[in-house]
Amino acid sequence: MPLLNINVNGQDHAVEIEPHEYLASVLRERLGLTGTKIGCDEAECGACTVLVNGTPVDSCLYPALKADGARVLTIEGLAGTWQGEGDASSASAPDQPHLHPLQREFIRQGAVQCGFCTPGLIMTAKALLNQNSNPTDDDIKTALKDNFCRCTGYISVMNAVKAAAVQVAGQTHVPGLKPGTMKLETGKDVYAPKLPETKAPLAAVGRPLPRLDAEAKVTGAAKYADDYVFPGMLFGATLRAKYPHARIVRIDTERAKALTGVRAVLTHANVPGSKNHGLIFNDWPVLCYDKVRYMGDAIAIVAAETREAAERALDLIQVDYEELPVVDNPIDALKPAAPVVNDFTGHGNLLKHIHVDKGDADRGLAEADIVIEREYHTPTYDHAFLEPECSIGRVTEDGRIEVYVGSQIPYEDRRQIAASLGIPETQVRVIGTVIGGGFGGKEDIAAQIHVALLARATGRPVKMLYSRHESLIFHPKRHATVIRIKTGAKRDGRLTAVRAEIYGDSGAYASLGDKVMTRAATHAAGPYEVPNVKIDCYAMYTNNPPAGAFRGFGVTQSAFAVESNMDILAHELEMDPLELRRMNALRVGATTSTGQLVRESAGLVKCIEEVEREIGDCKLQIGSEKLEVGNPKTEIESEELPDLRPPISKFQSPTSRAWGVAAAYKNTGLGGGAADKSGAEVEVYDDGSAEVRSSAAEIGQGLPNVLAQIAAEELGLPIERVRVLLSDTDLTPDGGPTTASRQTFVTGNAARFAAKGIRELLAETASERLEAPPDKLVFRDGFIESDGRRVPLTDVVKWAKEEGRTTRYRHEYTAPETRDLGEGGDMHFAFSYAAQAALVEVDTNTGRVHVLKVIAATDVGRAINPLALEGQIEGGIVMCIGNALTEEYIAEKGRIWTDRLAKYKMPGIKETPEIVSCIVEDESSTGPYGAKGVGEISSIPTTPAITNAIYNATGVRVYSLPVDQDKLLLAMRAGRKEIR
């Protein structure tokens, strides 16, 4: 093996390596520097960026031997390059003097969510600051163009880079500006994090506190699943289907088993327990036995000493198939003659037929003065979380199974692993690792069961890491839909009826397909009071990848149809589109399509008014009159608009700009009659610190802070004294799934009640010593006070223990009861609302669409942490820009075309618009401090706001996503009014 001489982070190394290794694997696997992340292995995502002799490169495709003799800087070495702070004691010293300004600012500006992209972003930004200490927005966008982040929406990233630049420049260039200071002479923090206006904070709740896990994420210390290594660990690989639909005739693994280095090759015959898994429907083979139903199906799994041996073993497994006809869309799937893909439900390809009925839709349409009838198409989308799936299984000394995985539902994983292994759930421990993004795509089983099987078969730890290629082929997606929708209204704009048919492509297995499509259906009348509604929704099995949960949970799709129809209606009626929405908006006293009376916390009208006001502030108007091609409405002051042209080309394309608006609502919590429970435990320690525990996943959204801030609030503790432990099924109670924007509400409440339990317990102890009734005691700043006397919490904890009390309290919270669809009453215990306006620019030479600005008003009940909230909103909007303009997952006759990240373009920093975010806090009486869900709502109205704006700019109506510039230009040129 050749010797690689390399200086990493100032240290010389001589490492023996294989000639074909890339730099990333040498750094991660040979030197243990796992801060460098692998998101794609194709030089697309930038997560693996390190500096080689000062320049950023993608280490995933950089041959290690090319770096022979080079200096390499990784995230782990970054802080060491910063000798800024001599006087860490001075008043202006930042909170984390041991960090590089970029690291500090990424934390402070909220530019870290799941953190998987963070090391790469910071390293690329470091190279930029080396060359340019005063970068403009354009400079930053050019430099960070190929560093993708799926969570933040990039605005906080830009702010962090600019704020750090001031400090770096302060150290090296600008005399008089103290290193590390963000404050200029006026004393104003010019680079204060961007925060929306929210209600006055309490002691901890409502404060924009930086993330608890941020420091680990900006230094590369945070451990994602692939960062774990165990002694004797084997590597797993999965043989996937060769056809989208085929009968398995024979599987022969003998030759694979004989290969050197191979320790186990398993097929369905080696699954001792349940042969299928599934979140709701147990219809998904752990390893296929009778048929394969999509290209991602697993047929055999291998564990071997090296990844290479495992891969090679796959080639030696012989599978004989008998090909079957392929069903590749939901409409064909419903035809009586269609080949049956999956008959789990006993209804052929029909996974579920969902009805929503209210009033008499036919009569409502007959009564309407105008009926808009249209058909919309949305494609399949991939979550494109930056961290591909990874699980590690091992058998402990006492014979239990441990699985390390970044999962959205740890207890569900435990249940499904145990079922397939045929052992009691208590014999399985699922340990949640840090998760590099989920968005709904990490709710289903990936390799959790496989690694458990392989670990049992070999007695050794087994790691299964999916490549991006495999991840794209395998994991459940957002449903593609066809939506036929009629909207009826009176001449004055009052809605009389909505009638819709929705066909959802749920792919080969159910996943959460029926729930997702139920949400699509129940929200298909939009956030409006419509007296007559009839929705028929068909969730269908096909030979495409399964479709399941994805931020928005079906509502993203139906909102595109509903809000497009509303826009058409406004144009037809020559009404202001915001006025039309305000007139019909759900508000207190209204009834939803499922017959639920809205009793409280319905801030939609306020959201619409906020958007209207903001647009007014921009001195812009929404085109409510009909806009003809060639007469675009562009009453804007162009200086206000960001310049998005590439750096060198000075050529100005002719463009057309316009605003568009949309509104949306989204349930918080599971609803539909499901018991929505979460457990949390709070323990206080002798040193006055506390720990909150729950198996609820942090996928980047900021749950640890929510729980810590709530516990700190209740116990009167400074936030630094509260730790959070998540997702370990041995140590933390079941928090339920991280889905349906429910964790702040449900686990937030659980934590709140658990903290209250502890508080009452401590109050009893303290009340004797302070001679005051327990309910008169105030918990503040680590003390318990009464009438000017106070005792430290630490003492009270000690006394309580002396009294024989356990200073730990567990609470299982059950959300308010809901009813199943069709039963009337409350289907959900809370809804979040939003209205948005998007300003788009269409290049009339190319058809290319840019979103310049988005105004977002969001009713979240109560902002527990405005910094994290802003991050959720910005990230949701940018993700939805992808939904509208850049993303499309393509399968052709069941075969996957989108099999690399290069073929799936999530928005990059150049696509980020200016975002104005207004928070409406219409509190929910049952949510913690009034809070309700926020994770999904922001990403729902953006797509229709954009497509409505495109109509206003070009006169072309978009009926099919994503907007294809090819079709758009051709339509504009030919004077066609629509693209499909």
Partner: protein, 339 residues
């Protein structure tokens, strides 16, 4: 990790590199930045092939590979020169602007820091950005010959061939990278009264390749009379809802821009990077006027044959783009001539 090659060599001289290639008898391959090669290898693997080379010959450390110089009336670029180096070179920015522009839009900084211009040429895609710019600059390439004209060979122009000879078909070069090395490209810098420009159209979805790219190099003839020239541009040819564009030919005589020499390259409109020679012939000697541009557009449309490529662009769309791309690149080049 899949093993795509068994050995990795970084020869420091051309001779050493050629000896290595000869030694492996076609089972080794030249690599520069690897940004095409490694992805090609993994794509082949994912589609069921099992590629494995005996060795990679990394040519970027060869003496002279980093040449980016002006010599004997040529700009010479060695096979180790990256896109980032080209974008950052004041010489290229001033005297081969189209190339700087083309290289600046390739990938992101991480890719540009390793991807070489000559790798882009060797990959032989009809829409490759740097390649299109080079084609308009009348570049020549040199195979298996030293990167620079060293003193002893000063007068020896041996081995420089027109760039166009390097392309056989989409992704197929006439240079066999298992045996041969393109060591350098060279071209004449644009001198006085000459300028170049590049522009392209991308699409966010689908295949990550440009939909259409175009480069123009133009030289003007100075009118005999001196004095300041009128610089009024009155908008582009109007099509659909178009705001007033800042550039473009005047419908009247524009005060002196007469095109003496012009080169236009475009892709993908043919299996290989394409020089629009009939459009060039039409434009040369013409005054820069709107009717001339319109006529030139017709000529261009008659000599190209763009095709529909799945998940990338339709033929119709490309045909719609060609006129605006021509007016954009030509407009930029002419604008630069004016200043």
């Amino acid at each position: 990790m899949v093993r795509f090659w068994k050995d990795y060599h970084s020869p420091t001289t051309l001779d050493e590199a050629l000896v290595l290639l000869a030694h492996y008898q076609g089972r080794a391959r030249v690599v520069a930045g690897g940004t095409d090669l490694f992805l090609d290898l993994s794509a082949a693997y994912e589609s069921g092939e099992r590629p494995c080379l005996d060795a990679l010959i990394d040519i970027t450390r060869m003496e002279g590979a980093d040449a980016l110089v002006e010599q004997d009336g040529y700009i010479i670029i060695g096979c180790g020169v990256t896109h980032a180096q080209i974008v950052g070179s004041p010489l290229i920015q001033a005297r081969a602007t189209a190339l700087a522009e083309a290289c600046s839009v390739v990938g992101g900084p991480q890719v540009r820091n390793v991807a070489t211009l000559i790798g882009n040429v060797a990959h032989a895609l009809p829409a490759a950005d740097g390649t299109i710019a080079l084609l308009a600059l009348d570049a020549e390439a040199r195979v298996n010959e030293p990167m620079r004209n060293d003193k002893s060979q000063m007068t020896n122009d041996k081995g420089w061939r027109p760039l166009g000879e390097l392309f056989r078909g989409p992704g197929e070069s006439t240079v066999d990278a298992t045996r041969e090395i393109i060591t350098a490209v060279r071209f004449r810098p644009t001198g006085e009264h000459a300028a170049s420009a590049f522009a392209r159209v991308m699409r966010p979805q689908g295949v990550a390749l440009p939909i259409l790219g175009m480069a123009v190099k133009a030289r003007r003839r100075m009118k005999a009379e001196g004095g300041r020239m009128k610089t009024a541009g009155t908008g582009l040819p109007q099509r659909g809802p178009v705001e007033q564009g800042p550039r473009g030919p005047s419908s009247e005589n524009d005060g002196g821009v007469r095109i003496e020499e012009i080169a236009i390259s475009v892709g993908p409109v043919a299996p290989v990077p394409f020089r629009a020679s009939r459009t060039e012939a039409f434009l040369s000697g013409k005054e820069w006027r709107e009717d001339v541009l319109e006529h030139a557009t017709q000529v261009l449309l008659s000599e190209v044959a763009p095709r529909s490529s799945p998940h990338r662009a339709t033929k119709e769309y490309r045909l719609e783009l060609l006129p605006s791309l021509l007016s954009e690149t030509l407009g930029m080049a002419i604008e630069r001539l004016r200043t």
